[in-house]
């Protein structure tokens, strides 16, 4: 049995009823800060009465209330529903009143909280299973669902410390019910206590005190005293146990060599903490009912990248083997890229007064091949693709290096402000430039293109920038367009009116089109000559082109631009990547004038959600 769906209405940022599908094993919830990830986790904790949370009072802030709206609306109640699936025969029996009459393998649990307090200042809660609130509610059945939560800012040292209710104590208590170790442990401590009391020093100390008492009070009034090392109750014994660590696995090391956890690194302490919790979850396996849910917020906390990947792989494996349902929230691209895309839920908040949009990546319609490709690509690049508010897809490293610089100029011009060019950046708009290393637009667009239908795509704008790629010898210019050979361009028509995906293209190739725009040719020739190591005919030719370029006709300019492109593309002379590095460095200098080709400008503004004005008010700059 596992939670297959969570339905939230009116709780925190979830104003409208929102369905959140969850996987049987691992679900990874991705989203930027404030997108509602924690609200999802807290909703599950609240309805399942998770230990550290269940008894916490509900406050008024838990009810959805409007933001920036003068009406100041506030919900009069909120509901949280859990739908369980995959009930086996035993579970159908145990959760009988919770069952869905039309599908006995599924059950439900509901929580409704009214925004009205009673005389003790508590909000009225109703909790029921199944479709009818009047059927019996058995608390033992309810409590058999185990929900464990690991908070995002874990103080592992504190949690593992020898105190009441420490993780270690909880683990041992759970194991005890099977092992009957209670008496055995108590006996050992009692025995040790006795041995200690026989020691000369302690006997002497005790007698000293006792004699003083008798002296001062006299035999009739004095009390008897004794000394004890520690309490002999099982609960007290295990509370006094603490974990120690040794940096290496070595069975020969004696206990004295082990160190206190306070000497350990934060990351490793967190792993020890997680290991204790996972061991505790495993202990329940032999119980007859074992629905276990583990909620982890930001498992990446305090861990370096390789450990993050390793940890998540382990959790995924554990979830599969021991049947624990694990729900993880994360900001880490490393974790996002190391799990199966089918396990990922993307949470996006588009409007502050509406519920966040939940997009399970298994529903966006990726073909197996597209999924495989994206998975491999994510694994290699550890990309921020799934965390962005806007995406610009490019084909190669050259575009990837230059476009962020061009974007600063585009934003500077568009926003018409007196600030410096370097004050603008794509980061401000949370837009990522994604280098696909090829023309795989279809796979990437698939993530976004169906977003108009709730949950079928990530509702952010994704602009692709591609080359027209005519025949190699072609030299197109305005008024002399050439036939395109790029198979990706058929997408341009398909996506023409798509709300979330657009594909922008040029007349030939990135560098070629840059060169034909405004006076860019001069800047680019300078860049090229800086890289060029020889002083021969190539250098002379380009010095000449530089002087004559402005006076040339469009068709001649096109030929010269082609000449430059060929030289840049020649890996022996320069190479596109190296050229792009140098060009980007030049563009960082605000005094150098550079015109951004129209297709790139459009793509950038569209991805930043600024397009509406640009198409009508801002004059275009393409060509001459």
């Amino acid at each position: 049995m596992y939670i297959s769906k969570l339905v939230i209405e009116g709780y925190r940022c979830f104003n409208e009823k929102t369905e959140i599908p969850l996987n049987e094993g691992l679900t990874v919830i991705l989203g930027e800060n404030g997108s509602g990830k924690s609200a999802i986790i807290d909703a599950i904790r609240l309805i399942l009465n998770e230990d550290e949370f269940g008894n916490v009072k509900i406050t008024e802030k838990e009810f959805w209330h409007s933001i920036g709206n003068t009406k100041n609306e506030i919900r009069s109640n909120f509901t949280i529903d859990l739908i369980f699936s995959g009930l086996n025969e035993k579970e159908q029996l145990a959760y009988l009143p919770w069952l869905n009459p039309n599908d006995l393998c599924s059950a439900s649990l509901h929580l409704k909280v009214q925004n009205k307090t009673n005389s003790r200042n508590q909000y009225k809660r109703e909790l029921w299973g199944g479709n009818s609130s009047s059927s019996i509610f058995e608390w033992d059945t309810y409590n058999s669902i185990q929900c464990t939560y690991l908070p995002p800012l874990r103080d592992a040292e504190q949690r593992l410390r020898a105190v009441r209710g420490s993780r270690l104590a909880r683990l041992i208590t759970k194991m005890e019910s099977k092992n009957n170790a209670r008496e055995r442990l108590e006996d050992i401590v009692k025995q040790n206590n006795k041995e200690l009391l026989k020691d000369e020093l302690i006997v002497k100390a005790k007698d000293n005190i006792k004699n003083r008492l008798i002296e001062s009070l006299g035999e009739q009034l004095a009390q008897d005293i004794s000394v004890s090392f520690s309490e002999t109750r099982f609960e007290r014994i295990i509370e006094n146990l603490k974990l120690l660590f040794y940096p290496l696995l070595d069975n020969e090391v004696s206990v004295e060599e082990f160190r206190e956890l306070s000497e350990n690194s934060l990351g490793y302490n967190n792993l020890i903490y997680l290991a204790t919790v996972l061991a505790e979850l495993e202990q329940t396996e032999e119980n007859e009912l074992s629905t276990r849910i583990l909620l982890i917020e930001e498992p990446e906390a305090h861990l370096h990248p390789q450990l993050q990947t390793k940890l998540l792989e382990y959790i995924e494996k554990q979830a599969r083997i021991s049947g624990v349902q694990v729900i993880v929230t994360t900001h880490s691209p490393i974790i996002a890229s190391s799990v199966d895309l089918n396990n990922i839920l993307v949470v996006k908040r588009t409007d502050f007064n509406n519920s966040p949009t939940i997009v399970p990546l298994k529903n966006v319609g990726l073909t197996p091949k597209q999924k495989f490709f994206l998975q491999r690509w994510m694994d290699i690049t550890k990309s921020t693709l799934l965390f962005a508010r806007g995406v610009i897809l490019v084909e190669g490293i050259a575009e990837g290096l230059v476009i962020p610089e061009l974007a600063k100029r585009v934003l500077h011009k568009y926003l018409n402000s007196k600030k410096k060019i370097s004050d603008y950046s794509l980061e401000e708009y949370s837009v990522s430039v994604i280098n696909m290393g090829g023309i795989y637009f279809e796979s990437f667009f698939q993530l976004f293109m169906n977003a108009e239908e709730q949950g079928k795509g990530i509702p952010i704008r994704c602009a692709g920038i591609t080359d027209c790629d005519p025949k190699e010898s072609d030299t197109p210019y305005v008024g002399n367009e050439c036939e395109c050979n790029n198979p990706a361009l058929k997408l341009q028509m398909i996506l023409k009116d798509n709300k979330y995906c657009r594909l922008y293209s040029n007349s030939k190739t990135f560098e070629y089109d840059l060169a034909l725009c405004g006076n860019n040719f001069l800047v680019m020739v300078d860049t090229f000559l800086e890289i060029l190591e020889t002083d021969g005919s190539i250098r002379e030719d380009f010095e000449k082109y530089k002087k004559e370029f402005i006076r040339k006709t469009d068709s001649e300019k096109a030929k010269i631009a082609k000449c430059l492109l060929d030289r840049i593309d020649n890996p022996k002379l320069c190479g596109k990547g190296l050229f792009a590095q140098h060009l980007a460095y030049k563009l960082a200098n605000e005094e150098i004038e550079f015109t951004v080709p129209n297709y790139i400008e459009k793509a950038i503004l569209w991805a930043c959600n600024l397009n509406e004005r640009s198409e009508s008010n801002v004059p275009t700059n393409s060509g001459n």
Binding site: L96, L99, S132, S135, L289
Partner: protein, 160 residues
């Protein structure tokens, strides 16, 4: 079922005095020793076989049922299925529960077992969770509980 038959045969063959010892070993209460041989036979009757207990008023039927429940609960292993003890009145259910508790020491008659009236059992486990399948009642706000007095709608099932 073959195993059960053999066991049943074995119980019939136990001498009356040994039957009391067997029950006493489980419940550890001096009252056990005062049970009649018939009562002991009833208590040891296998729980998965039907049994009809008939006797005159005041002969100790409720007493026997109380001990029987305590005996079965003490031996109970499953945490998901339990014994349903159904009566016709709340008072009778309460009485049986109290008596069983008296013999159970620090255990209590509680989940997964049920002691109550036949009506409340039907309401809790059958009618409310699944009644809507038969009555086709759509419910309000996702709740299909049948209530006698409902706003504007008295439930078509009432007319039948």
């Amino acid at each position: 079922m073959k195993g059960v038959k053999v066991m049943y045969q074995q119980i019939l063959e136990i001498k009356p005095i040994n039957k009391l010892d067997l029950i006493y070993s489980v419940l550890n209460n001096e009252d056990i020793k005062r049970l009649s041989p018939e009562q002991a036979t009833f208590i040891l009757h296998p729980i998965n076989r039907d049994c009809f207990l008939s006797a005159c008023p005041g002969s100790g039927k409720t007493h026997s049922v109380g001990i029987k429940i305590a005996y079965e609960i003490q031996n109970w292993i499953s945490k998901i299925s339990g014994i349903a003890v159904l009566s016709f009145t709340k008072n009778a259910a309460e009485e049986i529960k109290n008596r069983a508790n008296r013999f159970l020491g620090n255990l209590n008659v509680s989940h997964p077992h049920f002691v109550g009236t036949i009506d409340s059992w039907l309401h809790s486990y059958i009618f409310h969770p699944f009644g809507s399948v038969v009555t086709r009642y759509k419910g309000a706000e996702g709740d299909v509980s049948h209530k006698l007095i409902q706003d504007g709608n008295h439930g078509t099932w009432l007319k039948n």
